[in-house]
Amino acid sequence: MKTIYRTILIAALSLILVLAAAAGVHAITANQPSPTESIEYSGEFPLEPEKDTCIQCHIDEQFTNIWTPLGRLVLFGAAGLILLFGVARSASVWRSRSEWVPIPTRILAWIDERYQLSEFMKPILAKPVPDWQRRWWYCLGGITFFLFLVQGITGIMLAFYYKPTPTEAYASIQFIENEVLLGSAFRMIHHWSANGMIVMALAHMLRVFIMGAYKSPRELNWVSGVTLGIMTLAFGFTGYLLPWDQRAYWATTVGTEIGGSIPIIGDLALVFLRGGWSVTSLTLSRFFAAHILILPLITVGSLGLHFIMIRKQGVMKPL
């Protein structure tokens, strides 16, 4: 009985492989229909028609041949057959269900056997948390971190469509707001969660300061925390320029000017921030690079230090 199931499984899998190969060969060899014939885009955002890959005709199923729909039918059909096979197999072993170990548990056990994660995780998970620590004012830092994760996810979503050049930045944000599915929602979340992050970080810092939790042996934790606070503000400052509207442009001009009036290093700071003597496309490029590469890396590194030290030293117990 067992061999029959195995044969069906192998047959289904090889069918998928053969058809995927056929579809691949066809995709390379077949003449591509000219996409300009089948699509007319009239949005505000300037799509280059000769480069458009015609996603819409695939959604509309305007196929020019039989291979793609057939391939899909067989692919999804085979997936369905494998599912059916699983159900049938499960039903056939129902008698021996007491020995059954759920598949996620088995996968975890398999990984654990190789990486020995539980050895590493057990002391982390088993660490007791005192009852006095379960109060809302100990949540503020955690909420800041959670909002940072939200910023990371929504930021990646926005980066898919954002173009960091003066000629295209503004139009690409209009595109995100008007055309992209849920684009305006993601931009709204990114905008407000940035503000929330600053408020929460400030509240967290005030809590730590008032309770005196920065004192020995937690001085370096305070230092990494202040670094994270500076990073949060730097994120806000660099992110504000990216829409490239009047407000963004002039706020950055004024903001970098303040840096420029520091004695001795002022000019250096100004040129470093602007990439020249005025706010140009170079400023936009470096603000974008800072916003999506440099600042996240520093932030993640500081977060690591911050969290390791909290684990090692624990939260300060108030008097």
Binding site: I124, L125, A126, K127, V129, D131, W132, R134, R135, C139, G142, I143, F146, L147, Y170, I173, E177, L182, S184, A185, F186, R187, M188, I189, W192, S193, N195, L206, F209, I210, M211, G212, Y214, K215, S216, W222, V223, V226, I230, L233, G236, F237, Y240, P243, W244, D245, Q246, R247, A248, W250, A251, V254, I258, G260, S261, I262, P263, V279, P318, L319
Partner: protein, 131 residues
Amino acid sequence: MSENNQEKEVPFYPDHVALEAKVALGVVILVVIIGVIGLFAPVGLGASADAMDTPLHVKPEWYFLALYQLLRFIPKTIGATSPVLAVVLLLIWPFLDRKPDTSKKTTKIRFWLSFAAVLVIIALTIWGEVS
């Protein structure tokens, strides 16, 4: 917090993780609500940037507004240097204030100190917003 339950402890997993998950869920709900509002009332954009056209009132974002307002009244050099010095002071603060706390009195002093600082910042921000 009451003194009598100080000895009580809960395991980090699953008890404390569950509590943190509830807080995270609350934040997620808030974030989703903000996203739904964004679908109907997007953040929006101003006019496209124009280096030739300086607007009458240039204002930074609210979290730099207090500093910006301060800079209107003090000389530019001091105004630009003081935030840098303030950040450096904040960074090395634990190495300046090293005496361990012995009573609640120091906590109270720090509370009123930060209360005053926050009040000044809020006042400057509102002033900067309306002016």
